[in-house]
């Protein structure tokens, strides 16, 4: 039985090349043309509002009645957002309006993808400053704050009461409380120290007295992550896990969602959580109703420690031909009626400062310390287009994880992170 020599006539190199090409090929999507000018395409991040479909049906119907312009909303998962937008830019299929995470905005604005809104007479002073500044690049306005969230500490008030613990007011008290909790509740995680949650690390850098990066008069950025103050803050936070056992080994791999889940599952007794999380926690575990409280992140020697104000801006894309209608839609969503409704449904703070008090007065009292945090001690990240690369390369995550894994000391890890941040921000 002779085998057929099928490859006799095929040059080997060509066959190999074909094999490599076929096996490595990925599908590439084709681009669609632009949409008709009497309708708007809007991209919204998925999952912020549990009733998002209903919300946008109402908001869009109202907008269409008012202006006669149809609106189509597409929901985009957060983790795909940056790629999806980059791909849309490359393919010329950008939406008219998009919700952008505040840390994304400078990058896309600098690249020229976003429409400058300053010509429409935007009153930038009415918005939460930390959030607004992320939309202002070189005198232009490339997005307006839509909603905001801030990180503070959520704790189990029932356990605090049971063990006679008070809300801590400085770092030492926070550590004592965490240690006392971990001794009193042996099966619980007193205060998780997550490795994959950069916004839980930033407060300690600021709280110790450092800055992530400051811009010099010549435009070069200097990172202070390796300053004495930042190191003290990072060391305090990581020592909670390494020296005082208030966390768990697995928390090295946790992101903010994992921290929230551990709190919702009654594994963690305290946790650094975002202002929208308590609502989600109570939805996941209604048993916790009335058993949770929150406090503003305490400063080193009292007062408040700054925390990262996250949130989203609504931006209008450049070159769609519908910029004006798009801006109208942005005003519609950030206007009183729908921004209040959005906050009520999501638990996020409105992007307009004046509405923050109003909202927190009417909302769950657990949100009050968050409102204090937002107004008294909130920060943004360095406002520069290159910042998204620091986040995408997960520089702070790498730093935190190498300390928690015991691969580097605080001094080594912070020095390396500072170098990385400077390299990226200075265009290296």
């Amino acid at each position: 039985m002779a085998r057929r020599r099928t490859h006799e006539y095929v040059p080997l190199t060509a066959a190999a090349a074909a094999l490599v090409l076929v096996a490595t090929a990925c599908g590439t999507g084709g681009g669609d043309g632009g949409e008709a000018s009497d309708s708007l395409l809007v991209w919204i991040m998925q999952g912020t509002n549990p009733d998002e479909t209903e919300f946008f049906e109402a908001a869009n119907t109202a907008f269409t009645e008012e202006t006669g312009i149809e609106v189509e909303v597409e929901f985009v998962p957060w983790q795909d957002a940056q790629n999806k937008i980059s791909t849309a830019i490359a393919g010329g299929t950008v939406p008219d309006v998009a919700e952008l995470g505040n840390t994304f905005t400078p990058g896309f604005a600098d690249a020229g993808a976003l429409h400058d809104l300053s010509g429409y007479g935007v009153d930038t002073s009415q918005y939460i400053p930390g959030l607004m500044e992320m939309g202002q690049i070189g005198g232009g306005v490339y997005g307006v704050p839509w909603y905001a969230s801030i990180r503070s500490v959520v704790y189990r008030s029932d356990l605090f009461e049971e063990h006679g613990l008070e809300v801590p007011e400085n770092w030492d008290e926070l550590r004592e409380t965490a240690v006392a909790l971990s001794e009193a509740e042996e099966d619980m995680i007193a205060l998780p120290v997550p490795g994959d949650a950069q916004y839980s690390v930033m407060p300690w850098i600021w709280g110790g007295g450092g800055e992530i990066a400051v811009e010099g008069s010549d435009g070069t950025w200097t990172s202070q992550i390796d300053s004495e103050g930042s190191r003290a803050g990072v060391e305090f936070f990581t020592d909670l896990a390494l020296e005082h056992g208030t966390s768990t080994t697995g928390a090295v791999n946790w992101n903010e969602i994992a921290v929230m889940e551990s709190f919702a599952e009654e594994e963690a007794a305290m946790a650094i959580l975002g202002s929208a999380n308590p609502k989600a926690v109570l939805e996941a575990n209604p048993d916790l109703e009335g058993r949770i409280g929150s406090f503003t992140l305490p400063g080193r020697d009292g007062g408040y420690m700054p925390s990262f104000a996250g949130g989203s801006l609504l931006s209008v894309f450049e070159g769609t031909g519908d910029e004006e209608a798009a801006w109208q839609y942005v005003q519609h969503l950030t206007g009183d009626e729908f921004s209040t409704r959005w906050s009520e449904e999501t638990g996020f703070f409105p992007g307009v400062s004046a509405s923050v008090d109003e909202f927190s007065a009417s909302a769950d009292p657990v949100l009050e310390p968050f409102a204090v945090q937002l107004k008294e001690a909130s920060r943004g990240v360095p406002v520069t287009p290159a910042w998204t690369q620091v986040e995408a390369e997960k520089v702070l995550v790498g730093m935190q994880q190498s300390i928690l894994n015991g691969e580097a000391t605080v001094d080594e890890a912070t020095a390396e992170a500072a170098d990385e941040v400077e390299r990226i921000l200075n265009g290296g």
């Binding site: 006799e8 490599v20 980059s86 090295v252 690369q389």
Partner: protein
């Protein structure tokens, strides 16, 4: 008449060639083109970019990260994973060949389930199995007293990290090998085995001197395909804890290319990494096929 006959194959091939040209050659050409340009987010918007010669390649080849981390991870991992996949797949195929039809169908169906598992879900299952606090493995080891109750973060250890990736890849990759080799095994004439047995050959000798030579082309195909797949593993690494951290020691060329392109918005350099990966695969495949068929006296 003769001319028309010469034209006919091309006419028949035209639709396929058009599709391949559009879906394969255009993106490939575009990647090569990109790798010679300074191309960032700004260029994506404006559509204009500058030719910078081999600057991306120079930056890439002088980056210690390539030589110390990405290349080592890619090559060593692929070698181990391909070898393990082929061995496990062949063993399963040999088992299947000895089974009667009904049990064979049952075992093949079970094997197919592993094959049908999407990479993303499969990866998450492995991550859960190895979860540092509550994973099956951690709990089993802890209750056996082999692991300290405070746990151990294996995802931070390069060797363990890639051990988990290898398990994941072998689990997803062996069914293809098993089924392909089984198809080959069924064509090996029984008389050859009988003759070898009469000559006193044991199981290993029968496999090595009878089965393997006959199935050499089959092994060539599964090895080359496995090599290609294992060189360009992406989801199974990117989704693991630490697999998406820019400076971590866990990235392979594929993930690094992605982080560079879409994290760093440096599409030029990302494209250069992709071209390097493709060239590497091309060279390995050519050498491998050549070596294999030269031994066989073909090609």
């Amino acid at each position: 008449m003769r001319r028309r006959r010469a034209l006919l194959p091309w006419v028949l091939l035209a639709p396929a060639l058009t599709v391949i040209g559009l879906l394969l050659l255009f993106p490939l050409g575009r990647i090569v083109w990109l790798s010679f340009r300074e191309y960032e987010l700004r260029n994506l918007v404006s559509g204009e970019s500058d030719f910078i010669g081999f600057a991306n390649y120079a930056a890439l080849l002088t980056d210690p990260y390539l030589w110390r981390i990405a290349m080592v991870n890619t090559v060593v991992f692929a070698a181990v994973a391909v070898f393990t996949t082929i061995v496990v797949g062949t063993l399963v195929a040999l088992l299947l060949a000895t089974l009667r039809p009904v049990p064979r169908v049952i075992v093949v169906s079970c094997v197919m389930v592993a094959w049908a598992m999407p990479a993303v879900s499969g990866t998450y299952v492995w991550i859960w199995i190895f979860d540092v606090d509550n994973g099956v493995v951690a709990q089993a080891l802890t209750s056996l007293g082999l692991l300290d109750p405070s746990g151990y973060n294996w995802f931070a250890d390069r060797l363990f990290f890639y051990a988990v990736v290898t398990l994941n890849i072998v689990h997803g990759g062996f069914p293809f090998v098993a089924v392909t080799v089984l198809a080959g095994l069924l064509t090996v004439p029984k008389e050859l085995h009988e003759a070898a047995r009469i000559d006193g050959a044991g199981a290993w000798k029968r496999f090595w001197h009878v089965t393997f030579p006959v199935l050499r082309p089959v092994f060539a195909v599964v090895t080359v395909l496995s090599t290609i797949w294992d060189f360009k593993v992406f989801a199974q690494i990117y989704l693991m804890p630490g697999g998406d951290v820019g400076g971590s020691r866990m990235l392979n060329l594929g993930v690094w290319s992605y982080v560079r392109s879409f994290g760093h918005n440096d599409y030029g350099l990302g494209a250069a990494i992709a071209v390097l990966l493709t060239l590497l695969l091309l060279v390995i495949t050519v050498f491998y096929l050549r070596a294999l068929f030269r031994e066989d006296g073909i090609g």
